[in-house]
Amino acid sequence: MSTLRMFRKKPDDPGFFGKLGFYLLLILGALVSIFPFYWMFVVGTNDKGAVFHVPPLLTIGDQFFENFKRVLDKSDFFQALGNSLFVSSMVTVSVVFFCTLAGYAFAKYEFPGKNVLFVFVIATLIVPQQLGVLPTYVIMAKLHWIDSFKALIVPAMVNAFGIFWMRQYISSAVPTELIEAGRIDGGGHFRIFWRIAVPVITPAMATLGILNFMTVWNDFFWPLVVLKNKEHFTIQIALQQLFTTRDGLDYGMIMSATFTATLPLLVVFLLFSRWVIAGLTSGAIKS
């Protein structure tokens, strides 16, 4: 109530209580955002009964390695982590390369049908993944790619968002005169792209790379459909498998695995958060 009164008195200064209220709400929101991460760690480091301790246990225990040992007994955890790393890296390298090339062509070349093709690229963004999932599965079966990483990597090697995002960036960051000068000096098209454009747009490529890596790393639906064999599981499927054990749920084990699987991405995100957030917002504004 006091905030409202403050507003009326001085339109541009909410006053002390207003500020306090604002900050309290923001901090509450932040706590809600990060609590599950902490909770993951609490459960992962305590013994089996900790999840349903009354009142809830909020302190970190010393059972992490005990719990994690059971993860290693029940699943090929590190194999799954390695699989995810392999698939995500392959997709990311390829997406960054092909999307940058395509974005560069759309930004800096003139060719018949350019606008129509670009609109087409954007239009593909609105088609839901599920619409084509059955025939894609059948294609994979015909190619004998079921239960192989090819099924995860090849269809994801280039995407519309990446092309869109690189085109926006290249249009403004790479001066056309520089490319023309390169042409006059007799440089090949790819050479100019590689030597002149790429060094200028590395930040945009990095952002696209990180965003893409996170998306592929966290994907669940498609790997669930195509992967059959334990040794090919990605980390998401492996985590879900831990959760389906019949003999009572061992939450200490599950959470020690979940935490370990979340940690790498969390560290990467905290290191590059500025880029990730910039990428996210600039992608959203225009599409």
Partner: protein
Amino acid sequence: MAEPVITSPHAESKRPFLTEQRRSRFTAYTFISPFFILFSIFGLYPIFFTFYLSFYKWDALGPMKYVGFKNFELITTDPTFWISFSNTLIMGLMGTVPQVMLALLLAVLLHSGMTRFKKTFRILYFMPNITSIVAVTLVFSTLFGNNGMINWLLNGIGVESMAFNSGWWGVKIAISTMVMWRWTGYNAILFLSGLQSIPMDLYESAKIDGANRRQQLFFITLPLLKPFIIFVSLQSTIGALQLFTEPYVFLGQSGTGSTRQEGITMVTYLYSEAFRNGFFGTAAATAVLLFLVTILFSVLNMLISRGGRETGGKKA
């Protein structure tokens, strides 16, 4: 870069078939071709094939048999389909509407000029989004357990425990909460970038005219933020219709692999029709219906958010 700049003599002496213009066009087409090739195979062709498939009976192995609209008849007479349909809508509403409003509130709070640590808050709010949905679901399934923390908190304020992992509403509340937790901060950051694009002099002239903070919010901020509000609600709606991982992981814990009815969604229905029962025809028909529903809701969403301002006064 370091090489000497010499024009190649060949380029001038001959007039090759590949003129400069032809060559650069060819290069451009080559550069963009990976997308179009891959999309034709793994995007366009499957979409058309799904529509085709929805008129056939097929188990993905044997011969296909034309059945006309039989698949659509089969699923629309299957009560489980309608449960999945209404679940999708209910959880969609529960997960989306409060989420967008909360995100807007957080963004306005974050934007108001006096906020310090803005960058830190942005990072903290974005953190839920980087975690995999599987991890989120696992964490929340402990919080929503029968003796879990949420029920403990509810008891603390004098509310009876709820069966979040088996009750009709309990399951829906738990799943929508997971969706909200994951996306509210993300949307708040999108809104924040929208707020930052509003020119400050608009606020200054409004202040000179004597507008207070609330008036500024309703007459400048919200109208100018409309494109973002439309974008975010559209994305959330489409995302809500495709809900799969949360219910699949949250309710799949019995070990039988079947998803219980309280949380089955259209995509879980599609998944089990195709990959558990081997009915590719009805699964394709489900995909087609899902697509139509998505279009319907996107159009509806656009109409509401477009018309909201102009006719809002009359309707309200």
